[in-house]
């Protein structure tokens, strides 16, 4: 009798777990489908190049912003990861560095916005600009760049390093000629992931880079403010009255497509990398 009830309980509980998973996955999948369906059907050539609220300017702005973000974050993040995997030998300093990285990753994005406003916009006199926004976003994605690069570097087997050192190469030569080239695909995957994250962020660029303009939407220099897709969507939904619903849906769709697209690319790259590993 008891055994039967235990088995019944198990069946019931597993059904409950099924339900949990369905509740977690299905609604979000559902709204993504709705967004793709409504957004893609609203999207038209005229919506992209037309005015006002053409999507071209915010798309260009976002691409410029995340490219610059990547250019700033990549050298810093990769160098930090090289330090952690190749040069550091443990100890309290490294523990402190790791704690700092974890904490940077936990700082709310709007607080990065405040910091960017105080340091880049005000103190460095960048103003509300492409450059200030990219610096702020670079800080935001730095922990992600460091941790993904570190993972890629750790995947390179020690035997390769030892072989290089045994041939008389210095530590830096080993890092540059042996470790980094072998870790490069993994590092690039991490960078794509980081840039995808930056492309979807709104709060950090609210006061550092983004603006809303119908007349002069394209930046002429690094010190000009930009239109950006997430900010454009936010402004059209919250602040500008009478924007056609089709424009909002199309903007949301393009933003989601860019961000998810980069993530899918990274996931596929990572899977192929695992498949093709030579060691």
């Amino acid at each position: 009798m008891r055994i039967v009830s235990a088995q019944k309980a198990e069946k019931l509980s597993f059904a409950g777990l099924w339900l949990c998973t369905a509740i977690v996955i299905l609604p979000v999948l559902g709204i993504t489908v709705v967004l793709v369906w409504r957004g893609a059907s609203a999207l038209s050539w005229d919506l992209i190049v037309g005015t006002p609220h053409g999507l071209l300017a915010p798309i260009v702005g976002t691409i410029l912003l995340v490219t610059l973000t990547g250019l700033i974050a990549a050298p810093l993040g990769i160098a930090a990861a090289v330090y952690l995997t190749e040069y550091s030998r443990g100890g309290p300093l490294v523990r402190l560095v790791r704690l700092a990285i974890v904490n940077l990753a936990g700082v709310p994005s709007v607080v990065y916005g405040l910091f960017g406003l105080a340091l880049f916009v005000t103190l460095f006199h960048f103003g509300r600009s492409l450059l200030a926004g990219a610096c702020t976003l670079a800080l935001l994605v730095l922990p992600l760049v460091i941790s993904t690069s570190e993972e890629a570097l750790r995947q390179v087997p020690g035997s390769l390093r030892h072989a290089s050192l045994a041939l008389g190469a210095s530590q830096w030569q080993t890092v540059r000629r042996v470790v980094l080239p072998n870790a490069l695909p993994g590092i690039i995957t991490g960078l794509i992931l980081s840039i995808g994250r930056a492309a979807g962020e709104t709060a950090p660029i609210l006061f550092t880079a983004a603006f809303y303009s119908l007349t002069d939407p394209f930046p002429n220099s690094l010190l000009d403010p930009i239109l950006a897709l997430p900010y454009q969507l936010f402004v059209m939904v919250m602040e500008v009255p009478n924007v056609a619903p089709a424009t909002k849906w199309a903007t949301a769709f393009v933003l989601l497509a860019i961000v998810l697209g980069m993530n899918i690319v990274a996931v596929i790259l990572r899977a192929r990398l695992r498949g093709s590993r030579r060691w």
């Binding site: 977690v24 560095v97 974890v102 830096w172 492309a199 709060a203 969507l233 933003l255």
Partner: protein, 291 residues
């Protein structure tokens, strides 16, 4: 001679790398210092207890009223609501993925959950404001489609990927010998999960929940868009169905229109400082169980 130039170059590069290594520490200190620098002048206007327990946030009135209690309680309501939804669901989902789902299904579910984390918060806000809010308001007969519980619901889904994937890792790391022992004693799979596996993964699950909490409390755009932005003190359980305003949303909504170096400007930096301190502490704790 050539050798020493190469040596000098190498020394320079390696020093740069070492500097980049400690950059994370420098940035954490810089963020703290800048927040503090731009927050401190507010104390010439109001004392710390005025700020933290003041019941009225009217930063543009004369003189400015900078009581943050409505904002702190707003954040608390939305975050607690989100965790009440997200922790049980996330734990159930994590147990399902690691213990129950067939291997095939697991390989689809894991990347899918990770993908959910990539959806931008402004897109969640857009959908919450245009679709889910009005729909829920209709369903529950509410006057408006922007309220605290809607923020909780949206935040729950944003925190879930973190909670699921970290709990799942923790559950998977429970040694197989523990499971085998329990099964050998005649326990069913479910009894093993509840009495052995989940308790053994406890510290990882707690860490996952704390990280989810951090995500929820710091989330900005979604709550700004769906919670209605009324800086009032929420009352009782009914407060969940009324508009509130969180700390993060206040910064995002008001910093753009605030004049530089006014009490309002400093007060917003004080909110940022409070958020930084909250998330700092919690991260230091949530990393502990993992060593």
């Amino acid at each position: 001679m050539k050798r020493s130039i190469a040596g000098a170059r190498e020394w320079l590069i390696e020093s740069t790398i070492r500097l980049a290594g400690v950059l994370a520490i420098i940035f954490v200190l810089l963020i703290f210092a800048f927040l503090l620098h731009d927050a401190l002048p507010v104390f010439s206007e109001a004392s710390l207890s005025d700020l933290l327990t003041g019941r009225s946030w009217r930063p543009t009135s004369e003189p400015a009223q900078l009581g943050m209690l409505p904002l702190i309680l707003g954040s608390l309501y939305v975050t607690v609501g989100a965790l009440v939804i997200a922790i049980p669901l996330g734990l159930g989902c994590a147990v399902f993925i690691s213990e129950v789902a067939p291997v095939r299904m697991r390989e689809i579910l894991k990347p899918l959950v990770e993908m959910l984390a990539a959806i931008p918060s402004v897109v969640y806000g857009f959908l919450g404001l245009l679709m889910i809010g009005p729909w829920l308001a209709d369903l529950m007969d509410l006057p408006i489609g922007q309220f605290a519980a809607l923020g909780s619901l949206m935040l729950a889904f944003m925190a879930l990927p973190t909670i699921v994937s970290i709990s799942e890792d923790a559950i998977r790391n429970v040694p197989v010998t523990l499971r085998s022992g329990s099964l050998a004693l005649g326990a069913t799979d479910w009894q093993t999960i509840v009495r052995v596996v989940v308790p053994a993964a406890r510290s990882g699950i707690i860490a996952a929940s704390l990280l989810g909490l951090g995500r929820a409390i710091g989330e900005t755009m979604t709550v700004l868009m769906v919670t209605g932005n009324a800086a009032v003190i929420p009352q009782g359980l009914a407060g969940f169905l009324k508009p509130v305003r969180t700390m993060t949303a206040t910064i995002a909504a008001e910093m753009g229109e605030t004049a530089y170096q006014t009490p309002h400007y400093h007060a917003l930096f004080t909110i940022g400082l409070v958020l930084f301190v909250i998330t700092y502490k919690h991260n230091a704790h949530s990393e502990c169980p993992k060593g």
